[in-house]
C-alpha cells in the first residue's frame, strides 16, 4: 500500500488513566489537523476513550502505549500499539471478561463500543510482538447528485489513461447510473471520497478516453490484504458489445500490478464486461443488497505468478472441501491432516475481530487456539448478532496447523467454507461465511 500524502503524529504514554485526557485531546486535535470534521473527530475521540480506558483496566500502569494518528486522504487512522503477555491476550477477544447473557456487563465492552463509532476497527495480535488496535474514521462526503450525469456514447478511438480528479468524479457518477447497486462498491456513491482514495494512493484507476476526452469506461483496483489486489469493473458506458475497451482496461490494471508482490487479483463484483478468460471462478460469496435481500455472486480470481505448489494443513472435516477446490482449480497442494492426539491444549482461545461498518462486514481471524474454541466462537456470534452486521466472515490460514482446529466449531455454528484464496496469507486462506449459500 503506497499511501502518498501520508502524515503521522504519535504519542507514547503509560497505560494509566491519569493520561486519559491527554490521549483524547491528542487524538481529537490530531484528527482535526489531519482533515476530519469536528463531528467525525469527536467520534474517533469517543472510540479512543473507550480503548484507552480498556487498556488501563487490563494492563499494569507502567506499561507503555504508543498511539499513532495518520491521515489517509479520506480517513484518519488511530493506531494503539503495545506489548501484551501471552496470558493477557485473552482480553482482546471481543467477548472476554464478561458474560454475554449479562446486559450490564455488555456495556463494559470497550472494544465493541469503540468499534461502533468508527467505520473500521481492527484488532491485530502478533504472538511475541504485541497488539495493534486500529480505528479508522472516514471524512463525511456528500453523496452523488445523479441528475447531472452526462450521456455516454460509443468511442471510435480510445486510449487508456490515469484519471484526473474531475474524470474520477465523472467515473463514479457514470458507474452509479449504469450499474446496479449490487455490483458497485459503496465508494462510487461518494465521488469526493473516491477522488480522495485515488489521490492518497489507496486505490488506482484507469479510464478509456476518446481523443476529445469523452469517457467510455473505467476500472478501479486496490490492495486487500497483503498479497491480493481487488479490481472493480471494467465498467462500460454505452459501448459496442464487441468493444476492446474492457480487455484494454484490464490489461492496464494487470500491467500495473505485474511487477508488485501481488500474488492474486480478485473480482468479487463481476460486471458483464469482465473479460472472463483472464479469470477463474473461485467460488461464490453472499452479497447483501441495501434492502436486505441476498444474492450469491461468483468471485473471479487469477494468479499473478506461477504457482510453485505447497503443503497445507487441514482439519479432517475440511479435507473434502479442500480436495474438491484444489482439484477443480488445479492447485498443486499436499494436504496434511491435523489430528488431535490428546496433547494438552491451552485453555483459552483468542479471536481477532475486524469491523468494516461501511460495508457491513465483520471478519474473524484466529490468534490463538484453545480448548474453548467452540464457546468462544459462539460468544462472538451472539455478540455480533446484536450489531446488525450483515456479513460475517472467518479467515483461516492453511499454513497454521492450529488455525484448522476452529473447523468443527465453524461448521457447527453455521459457517460454510466458500472460497480458497491461494497464497493470500502465509499460505492459502479459506474464507468461511456465516450462513448457507444463498440462491
Amino acid at each position: 500500500m503506497n499511501l502518498k500524502n501520508n502524515r503521522e503524529v504519535f504519542l507514547s504514554v503509560a497505560a494509566d488513566s491519569v493520561f486519559l485526557p491527554l490521549v483524547t485531546s491528542f487524538v481529537e486535535n490530531g484528527a482535526v489537523a489531519l482533515g476530519l470534521g469536528r463531528a467525525e473527530a469527536m467520534s474517533l475521540t469517543l472510540a479512543t476513550e473507550e480503548i484507552f480506558s480498556y487498556l488501563c483496566r487490563i494492563a499494569s500502569p507502567d506499561e507503555m502505549v504508543e498511539i499513532r494518528c495518520s491521515g489517509g486522504g479520506y480517513y484518519v487512522r488511530a493506531v494503539f500499539l503495545f506489548s501484551v503477555e501471552d496470558f493477557n491476550m485473552r482480553a482482546f477477544n471481543l467477548t472476554t471478561t464478561v458474560s454475554v447473557d449479562d446486559e450490564a456487563s455488555l456495556e463494559e465492552m470497550g472494544l465493541l463500543i469503540a468499534s461502533r463509532t468508527v467505520e473500521r476497527f481492527q484488532v491485530l495480535i502478533e504472538r511475541g510482538k504485541g497488539v495493534q488496535l486500529t480505528l479508522i474514521k472516514e471524512k463525511k462526503y456528500p453523496s452523488s447528485d445523479e441528475e447531472t450525469v452526462p450521456k455516454a456514447r460509443p468511442l471510435k478511438e480510445f486510449s487508456i489513461q490515469e484519471p484526473n480528479p474531475e474524470e474520477m468524479k465523472l467515473l463514479a457518477l457514470l458507474v452509479g447510473s449504469h450499474y446496479q447497486d449490487l455490483i458497485t462498491p459503496e465508494f462510487f456513491e461518494y465521488p469526493g471520497k473516491f477522488v480522495d482514495m485515488l489521490e492518497s494512493g489507496e486505490c488506482r484507476a484507469a479510464l478509456a478516453l476518446a481523443p476529445d476526452g469523452h469517457l467510455g469506461g473505467g476500472i478501479v483496483w486496490r490492495w486487500t490484504g497483503l498479497k491480493t489486489v481487488e479490481c472493480f469493473g471494467p465498467y462500460l458506458f454505452n459501448q459496442d458489445p464487441d468493444s476492446s475497451i474492457p480487455e484494454s482496461l484490464l490489461e492496464n490494471c494487470l500491467g500495473a500490478i505485474a511487477k508488485t508482490h501481488a500474488v492474486g487479483l480478485i473480482n468479487r463484483y463481476p460486471t458483464d464486461d469482465l473479460p472472463k478468460e483472464h479469470f477463474e471462478p473461485l467460488g461464490s460469496l453472499t452479497i447483501f443488497n441495501k434492502d436486505g435481500s441476498t444474492a450469491s455472486l461468483t468471485a473471479y480470481f487469477r494468479q499473478m505468478q506461477e504457482d510453485p505448489g505447497t503443503a497445507v494443513w487441514s482439519h479432517p472435516e475440511l479435507e473434502g472441501f479442500l480436495q474438491g477446490e484444489f482439484s477443480r482449480l488445479v492447485l498443486p497442494r499436499e494436504i496434511r491432516l491435523v489430528k488431535d492426539l490428546g496433547e494438552t491444549k491451552t485453555r483459552f482461545s483468542v479471536l481477532s475481530t475486524e469491523f468494516d461498518r461501511s460495508r457491513n462486514v465483520v471478519t474473524l481471524r484466529p490468534i490463538r487456539p484453545g480448548m474453548d474454541a467452540g464457546t468462544n466462537l459462539a460468544n462472538h456470534l451472539t455478540l455480533l448478532s446484536r450489531e446488525s452486521l450483515r456479513s460475517v466472515f472467518f479467515e483461516m490460514d492453511l499454513a497454521e496447523p492450529w488455525h484448522t482446529e476452529f473447523t468443527p466449531a465453524l461448521l457447527k455454528h453455521g459457517f460454510t467454507p466458500r472460497i480458497v484464496l491461494p497464497y493470500a496469507g502465509k499460505s492459502d486462506i479459506v474464507i468461511f461465511q456465516l450462513g448457507e449459500v444463498a440462491e
Binding site: 503506497n2 484490464l250 490489461e251 494487470l254 500491467g255 505485474a258 511487477k259 508488485t260 508482490h261 478468460e277 483472464h278 479469470f279 477463474e280 487469477r302 494468479q303 499473478m304 505468478q305 506461477e306 504457482d307 510453485p308 505448489g309 505447497t310 488445479v330 492447485l331 498443486p332 497442494r333 499436499e334
Partner: protein, 373 residues
C-alpha cells in the same frame, strides 16, 4: 538481542521492492504437481546441451582444481573473444551470467535522480536492477511487438544515463536491423550509453541483423551483452559478458566483481566458442520445432508471436497462470507472461521434437477446439 530496526535501516526503494522468487527445484515441482517427468520449456535453455568441446572440458575437470581460485577476470576467455572480434581483450568484461553485467553497467553510470530507458515488455532484469538500485526505469510501450525507437528517443532527458535494447527481444523475438540500430545510435549521438543485449544473437539467421560487437568501433557509447546460457547451453555454470569501447569498459570495470566467474565456466565457455556445427544443429532444431508448433497452433486456432530466438509467445483463451498449472500436471513447464505484462500469453522454449510434441498434446487437452482468445 533486539531485532534490528529494519524500518530505519532499510532504504525506501528497497521497502517497496519485491525479491525475485525463483521456481522450486524440478524434483519438488514434480512431486507437488504429480507428474512423472518434466520438460523444462520455461527458461530458453538449449536441450542439446553444451557443444562437444565444452562437454569435454566439464567431463575432464579435475576435482583438485576446485581448491584453486580461477582467473579473477577471465583472462584466457577475454583474449579469445578479442581474437575473434578484432577488439582488445580489455574491451571485454566477463560476469556471472549476463545478469551480473547488467548490474555493473547501472552501478557504473547511474546516481541518485538518474533514469534508464527500456521497453515495458522485455527481459525484466534491466528494470528490476534499476528500480532496486533506486533509479527510475522509464518503460516505453512496444509497437507491433518491437522496440519503439522514436518514443525511446523522446523519453530521454538530461538524467537519462542508459538505454537498454534487447535485440532480438525476449519474449517477442522482434529485432532491429542494422539500419535501424545505426539510425538510433546516430540520433543518440553518444550522449547516453546504449546497451544492446544480444543474449539470443546466435539464433538469428537474418542477413540484416546487426553484429553489435562489430559496431563498437564506430559507436563508442555502445555496450553489447552476450551470454553462454542460451545457444551454448552453459546456463548452469553462469557465464556471460559485455563488450564496449575501451574507455567505457574501464569505467564499468570499477564496479565489477572480480572472481565472480568460476574456473570451470571460463574454460567451458572458451571451448564452446569454436563449434559452428553445434550452432547449426541447434538452429535446425529450433527451425523444425517452430514450424511444427506453429502448424499445430494454427489448427488449434491460437494466435502466436515469434520471430528470432529459441522461443515463441502464445496467446491463450485462459489465464496464463491457470494454463501453467494445467500444463505442469502433464509434465510441461512454460513461462507465464503476466509478469512481462503480456497477460494470458505463455512463452514456450523451442526444444526437442519430443518435448514439442508433449507440449502440443498437453495444450490440446487444456484448450478446447474452436475457443479462440
Amino acid at each position: 538481542m533486539n531485532a534490528p530496526p529494519l524500518n530505519k535501516l532499510v532504504p525506501e526503494h528497497i521497502k517497496c521492492f519485491e525479491p525475485y522468487i525463483p521456481s522450486k527445484p524440478d524434483n519438488e515441482l514434480i512431486k507437488l504437481y504429480g507428474c512423472s517427468h518434466l520438460f523444462r520449456l520455461n527458461n530458453n535453455e538449449n536441450p542439446l546441451g553444451p557443444p562437444e568441446e565444452a562437454r569435454g572440458v566439464i567431463d575432464r575437470f579435475p576435482a583438485a582444481r576446485a581448491s584453486i581460485y580461477p582467473s579473477g577476470d577471465a583472462y584466457h576467455l577475454r583474449h579469445k573473444l578479442a581474437e575473434r572480434s578484432g577488439l582488445d581483450p580489455e574491451q571485454f568484461l566477463v560476469g556471472n551470467g549476463a545478469n551480473e553485467v547488467i548490474g555493473f553497467v547501472i552501478k557504473a553510470f547511474c546516481q541518485e535522480g538518474d533514469n534508464i530507458i527500456t521497453a515495458d515488455k522485455t527481459f525484466a532484469v534491466y528494470e528490476w536492477v534499476a528500480e532496486f538500485s533506486g533509479f527510475e526505469a522509464r518503460l516505453v510501450p512496444l509497437v507491433d511487438f518491437g522496440f519503439d525507437d522514436e518514443e525511446m528517443l523522446d523519453r530521454i532527458d538530461e538524467k537519462t544515463k542508459i538505454v537498454f535494447i534487447c535485440n532480438p527481444n525476449n519474449p517477442t523475438g522482434s529485432y532491429w536491423d542494422e539500419e535501424r540500430l545505426r539510425g538510433f545510435l546516430r540520433n543518440i549521438a553518444g550522449r547516453q550509453i546504449v546497451v544492446v543485449d544480444e543474449a539470443y544473437c546466435e539464433f538469428v539467421e537474418k542477413e540484416d541483423y546487426p553484429d553489435g560487437i562489430g559496431l563498437i568501433r564506430e559507436y563508442p557509447n555502445l555496450v553489447v551483452f552476450r551470454t553462454f546460457s542460451k545457444m551454448y547451453a552453459l546456463a548452469g555454470l553462469r557465464i556471460g559478458y559485455l563488450a564496449g569501447d575501451r574507455d567505457v569498459v574501464d569505467i564499468i570495470r570499477r564496479t565489477c566483481v572480480v572472481y565472480s566467474v568460476n574456473g570451470l565456466a571460463q574454460e567451458a565457455a572458451l571451448a564452446a566458442l569454436n563449434n559452428q556445427e553445434h550452432i547449426n544443429r541447434t538452429r535446425e532444431m529450433v527451425r523444425e520445432g517452430k514450424e511444427f508448433v506453429a502448424k499445430e497452433l494454427d489448427i488449434l486456432g491460437l494466435p502466436f508471436v515469434h520471430d528470432q530466438g529459441n522461443f515463441m509467445m502464445i496467446r491463450l483463451p485462459m489465464s496464463d497462470s491457470l494454463a501453467y498449472r494445467k500444463l505442469m500436471t502433464q509434465g510441461v513447464m512454460v513461462r507465464t507472461m503476466t509478469g512481462f505484462r503480456f497477460p494470458n500469453y505463455i512463452r514456450l522454449t523451442i526444444s526437442s521434437m519430443e518435448a514439442m510434441e508433449a507440449f502440443v498434446e498437453a495444450l490440446t487437452r487444456i484448450v478446447p477446439k474452436g475457443e479462440k482468445p
